[in-house]
């Protein structure tokens, strides 16, 4: 029996046909797209070549068949000019080109995913369009080189099964809908991002067209749908729309001078850090950039706002990849600085999926992004970096805010009571405390409450749970501890590490496989800020003595402090 038919890869079912009764499978030649004219088929193949450019490998086409496509459905149902076209798209499964001489990949290499194509329109455009005209959406695995350890990508296994395809790790790539004078990239980026979080946060993904309709409703009689479609949308409005319609939330981040950041270097450094942490927490990002700066054309064009959809990064950077930070000659680079990614990875509606941008380039493009018509007046003229990240529903406090608050809360705590900081050092064989808090490491995590309990409350004793629940209890609420913890849902956790633990091995000690943070600050993502004369406050809970809780049997219960509270 030929090994071509003897393979364990279940996706090989998508190599052939399909014939609806699976009794006669034909493997069509690579270029055959039977329903397109030869002219159109050529244009489709050229688009597919462009789509898989990032893979740096040849590809072959597997099964080709009609299929439902929610994006195409929404695009065609409200477009009279498309009423003669089929309401089904064409799904093409794609495989890597086989490796010659390999017994196991005689007929095809690994499965790359599938592409949905718009139906034939009879004649291909005479002038090749820079946009994708046939590709409407695709579920694609990452290129092979992105399996290397430095690459971190937000991905999902739930996006393909929604279309009845076997699950695989993918990210959805979508292209702007055709037939309108302008279609904003924010709509597109949001639609793609929603597919990435539909599994983890239960988001209900919507197409770009449906997003426009939601925006139209949101405009509340002030704009026609044409105006909504053309004008674009500010990030805050976009967030509100998806909160109201997609059972998902998120946060907007604004790194600009009016919020206390001084100069481009600081803005870029903090934005870089927060982008990294956001992606590390598995949240896709929509970063506002100047499109003509991000993707320069042959001629210089005026700045144009564009939403770059970012869902990955290559950790650790080379000097040329970032323009800020670094360290003085001879100084050891801090771990959290060194890990900052040198490149970000995203989908671009023109260049295609899995595009890599250097951090320096994309942050510079973000710095010069012109304001969007939908942006609020207070941020329109201020230089800065702005992004939107998608997260769980009900999120009211974002990652940049908890990072800043953590620093603000820890320093006075250390000054007032350095005991536990010294204790931490002693645990790692040091004396004294590192006196330079700027060298301390803050790690921000988005955790579900059950993860908080498992991760930090090592004994998971009822007393510790009760204590934590008590900290989250709202004034006057009479719920049980378990109910309170359940209602919190997700938390932001900021862990503090002092540099001491990094030097453990130098002192000949056996380091723990996962060093414990000195303390953890917790915020319920649902807690809002309260504006006070002293500044914006939000309930934060500081978990203390975690090292002892983990290592010393006499420590039985959680020590915590509510370090800033709600009224």
């Amino acid at each position: 029996m030929s090994s071509a038919y003897d393979h364990v890869d279940p996706y090989r079912a998508y190599l052939y046909g399909p014939t609806p009764d699976d009794s006669a499978c034909d493997w069509l030649p690579n270029t055959v797209l039977p329903h397109y004219s030869s002219e159109e088929a050529g244009a489709v193949m050229a688009e597919l070549e462009r789509l898989f450019a990032a893979y740096q490998a040849g590809f072959i086409l597997g099964a080709r068949h009609s299929s439902p496509s929610p994006t195409w459905r929404d695009e065609s149902v409200s477009d009279v000019s498309k009423h003669e076209l089929s309401r089904f798209a064409t799904r093409v499964h794609v495989f890597e080109e086989p490796i010659v001489g390999s017994e196991h990949t005689q007929s095809a290499g690994r499965y790359l995913g599938f592409v949905c194509l718009r139906p034939p329109k009879e004649t291909a455009s005479k002038v090749p369009s820079p946009c994708f005209e046939y590709v409407i959406e695709a579920e694609l695995v990452r290129p092979r080189h992105m399996f290397r350890p430095r690459y971190h990508l937000v991905h999902t296994t739930t996006s393909a099964p929604r279309l009845g395809v076997l699950p695989f790790v993918s990210t959805a790539f979508m292209t702007p809908r055709t037939g309108v004078a302008a279609s904003t990239c924010v709509h597109l980026a949001i639609s793609q991002a929603l597919h990435l979080v539909m599994g983890r946060f239960g988001a209900k993904p919507i197409s770009q067209r449906e997003f426009e309709v939601c925006l139209w409703h949101e405009a509340n009689g002030t704009k026609t749908i044409e105006e909504v479609a053309k004008e674009g949308v500010g990030l805050r409005t976009a967030l509100k729309v998806i909160e109201d319609n997609c059972r998902v939330g998120g946060f907007t981040a604004d790194f600009s001078e009016h919020l206390g950041f001084t100069g481009e270097v600081e803005i870029c450094r903090e934005a870089h850090r927060c982008l990294t942490d956001t992606l590390a927490n598995g949240l896709p990002v929509i970063l506002m950039v100047d499109h003509n700066h991000l993707i320069p054309g042959p001629a210089k064009r005026p700045p144009e706002p564009h939403a770059a959809f970012i869902f990955g990064m290559r950790l650790l950077h080379s000097g040329h990849e970032i323009s800020h930070g670094g360290c003085e000659p001879g100084e050891l680079m801090r771990e959290d600085e060194a890990e900052l990614p040198g490149t970000f990875i995203g989908h671009d509606s023109i260049r295609g999926p899995y595009v890599e941008w250097s951090a320096k380039h994309i942050l510079a493009s973000a710095m010069v992004c012109p304001p969007l018509p939908g942006d609020p007046e207070d941020v329109k003229q201020i230089k800065g970096i702005r992004f939107l990240a998608l997260g769980p529903h009900g999120m009211k406090i974002g990652l940049p805010e908890v990072r800043q608050l953590a620093v603000k809360l820890v320093l006075p705590h250390w000054r007032a009571d350095p005991t536990i900081y010294e204790e931490y050092h002693r645990n790692f064989g040091h004396r004294g405390t590192d006196a330079n808090p700027t060298r301390w490491r803050f790690v921000t995590r988005l955790l579900a409450m059950h993860e908080v309990l498992k991760k930090y409350l090592h004994d998971n004793a009822p007393s510790s749970r009760a204590a934590l629940a008590e900290a989250f209890r709202d004034v006057g609420a009479s719920m049980s501890s378990d109910m309170i913890l359940k209602q919190v849902g997700y938390c932001w956790a900021v862990e503090l590490y002092l540099p001491a633990y990094r030097q453990l091995s130098q002192f000949g000690q056996d380091p723990p496989s996962r060093p414990q943070p000195l303390l953890v600050l917790l915020w319920s993502i649902r807690d809002s800020f309260v504006v006070r004369p002293a500044g914006r406050l939000c309930r934060a809970i500081m978990l203390l003595d975690l090292v002892n809780l983990a290592t010393r049997p006499d420590y039985k219960s959680l020590t915590y402090r509510v370090v800033s509270s709600l009224p």
Binding site: P20, D21, S66, V213, G221
Partner: protein, 601 residues
């Protein structure tokens, strides 16, 4: 009494070829989705009327001299709108032929049939400014869909309401208020649905007449408005349907017709997706049922978004589908307008195995829900009994079959048995072709049933039943001739058996056909006995009096059947007189003129 379960049908849009099959090779285009489904023994189908790649097949069924405008050959709505009454009749005949000729299951039992028509004419609610011509085409397409459904013998046509968003190029969309735009589209939809019943141009007189006949008889198929989830769509919740319905039936000249013929098509996957709370939609559907407005039901599964139809159970559990299926069961037992079927919708899944799995799971789930309902002893008082059916019984008996096939001792049992089997198979197909079901095979005959609700107008049923009996004669003659030739060639010295004769008894009546338990789909009742007694009477009283060589097919019928025949057919038969049937009493009997003996002394 046990509760009755709805049947499970499959919407033929499960397979959407990329190209019209004809372009693949020399074979004529086919409706592959139906053919494959039938070959895989799927009994009940919702016909998707019609996809892009089906146009050539439909065109092929029309008069060869018929020409269509170019646009009609590209656009399903333009094609459907352009069909004449003659086209629709031809297409219906071809579709019925397709059912009879391709069914791979046993021919004894309920016949494969179309439960409903699934259509997609979303431009029906398009305002004049955005596409008046398309709207008109959509109205004509809906009208033609209704007529086609009636010719196919199905009573439900699913229609979509279209979009709640101005068309995408937006140039003509000046409305800023989304709510106001939705209201205007709903008003257009109501107007369009009423226009379905109005003669819009002179060429449609014939169609109007047909529609009026159906309206007069109360056999016009129902329009079942489907729900689509999301703000993009016009009817996007159960509540929205009710609001629309109440507005549509009270306004306009033809509101009263909509009151009788507009129903709801509950797509369960869409209802689950429709709002933030499926419980609200469930409540909405219960209200629709209380008002007896549930016409049909679609079932599939969706993963949180309106992406693609998946086999039920892929994403949601049985417990989440159960309340919806219970509504279907309640409707079968109480509603007079419900189709009696839950249609599995797997648009463009292109895999018959998946479709079969979905049907099997849905049937199993329905069964489990029915048992739960019975265990709960929920008070469902059946007001409609779909097990009591009106129709025509045709009992057929083949004479001389043993002598013809099994008289020679050295005959191969397999070979002769196979010949007889083929002949009976052809007889069954002739019955299926005329929308009858063969209820039982009696060894050398069959009992068939032509159900009244499968014919519109009703008079078709009598013509078709009689025609089936007449056409079977040709099959029998053909088989007899072949067998005689065969016997003469093998052993010319032996006497050739007499020709096969046929006795056919036709009677209109009412039968009880259990939908559950071990005698499922068997006809029981006094009228079944009358038809068999009539057959017995032909064989004992009429046939012996006819010279052997003159015996062909002897058709007899009761008064209840004869009085419903159109005059041209009724005159072929003469009243024989009253006959005493054992256990039944006296029945008036009519007999084919050719076999009527001289008046009795």
């Amino acid at each position: 009494m046990p509760l009755i379960s709805p049947e499970v049908s499959l919407i033929s849009s499960w397979h959407v070829p990329l190209v019209e099959p004809a372009t693949h090779g020399p074979t004529p285009p086919s409706l592959a989705a139906l053919q494959i489904g039938l070959q895989n023994r799927i009994l009940f189908h919702d016909l998707y009327f019609l996809g892009h790649t089906d146009i050539q097949w439909y065109k092929g069924q029309c008069d060869p001299s018929r020409s269509f405008p170019d646009q009609a050959l590209k656009s399903p709505v333009a094609f459907a709108a352009d069909l004449t009454l003659d086209d629709l009749k031809r297409i219906a005949a071809a579709l019925n032929r397709l059912l009879a000729e391709n069914f791979g299951g046993t021919l004894v039992g309920p016949r494969p049939r179309f439960v409903a028509l699934a259509t997609y004419w979303p431009c029906i609610s398009l305002p004049e400014a955005e596409g008046g011509e398309l709207r008109k085409q959509s109205i004509q397409a809906v009208r033609n869909s209704l007529l086609l459904a009636s010719f196919l013998g199905c009573r439900h046509v699913e229609v979509v309401a279209g979009s709640a968003v101005p068309e995408a190029d937006c140039r003509r969309a000046t409305e800023k208020k989304a709510g106001a735009y939705r209201s205007s589209r709903l008003a257009t939809l109501a107007e369009s649905l009423q226009e379905v019943f109005i003669n819009v141009n002179a060429e449609d007189r014939e169609k109007e007449q047909s529609l009026n006949t159906l309206l007069d008889q109360g056999t016009l198929p129902y329009l079942c408005l489907e729900i689509e989830p999301g703000k993009n769509y016009l009817i996007n919740s159960a509540r929205q349907f009710l609001e629309f319905y109440d507005g549509a039936i009270t306004g306009g000249r033809y509101g009263h017709i909509l009151d009788r013929y507009l129903l709801f098509n509950a797509d369960i996957a869409h209802l689950i997706l429709a709002g933030s709370d499926p419980e609200m939609e469930l409540e909405g559907l219960r209200t629709i049922c209380e008002r007896d407005l549930l016409g049909h039901m679609h079932l599939s599964d969706h993963t949180r978004s309106h992406a693609a139809d998946l086999t039920p159970g892929v994403y949601h559990f049985f417990s989440q589908f159960c309340p919806w299926l219970e509504i279907a069961i309640e409707s079968v037992n109480t509603s007079r307008v419900f189709s009696g079927a839950v249609a599995v919708e797997l648009e463009a899944c292109n895999d018959v195995n998946e479709a079969i799995r979905a049907i099997a799971r849905t049937s199993r789930w329905i069964d489990a829900c029915r048992k739960r309902l019975e265990e709960k002893k929920k008070a469902i008082s059946p007001t409609a009994d779909p097990q009591v059916l009106n129709g025509v019984l045709l009992a057929i008996d083949i004479g001389n079959s043993t002598a013809t096939f099994f008289s020679r001792e050295n005959d191969s049992v397999v070979a002769r048995g196979s010949e007889l089997e083929q002949m009976v198979g052809k007889i069954c197909q002739e019955i299926l072709l005329r929308r009858g079901s063969v209820l039982s095979f009696t060894g050398d005959g069959v009992i068939a049933f032509f159900q009244e609700t499968h014919y519109a107008p009703k008079s078709e049923m009598f013509k078709f039943a009689l025609n089936a009996a007449q056409e079977i004669r040709a099959i029998v003659d053909q088989v007899t001739a072949a067998r005689r030739t065969q016997l003469e060639a093998v052993s010319p010295d032996q006497p050739v058996p007499r020709r096969i004769t046929l006795r056919a008894a036709l009677h209109q009546g009412r039968v009880y056909m259990p939908a559950t338990r071990h005698l499922r789909h068997q006809a029981i009742g006094r009228d079944v006995v009358i038809s068999t007694r009539l057959l017995d009477w032909i064989s004992k009283t009429i046939e012996p009096a006819v010279p052997e060589d003159d015996r062909g097919i002897i058709i007899a019928m009761t008064k209840s059947f004869h009085r419903n025949l159109p005059p041209d057919l009724a005159t072929i038969f003469v009243r024989w007189g009253e006959v005493e049937f054992r256990g039944i009493g006296k029945q008036e009997v009519w007999l084919d003129k050719a076999y009527v003996l001289p008046p009795r002394a």
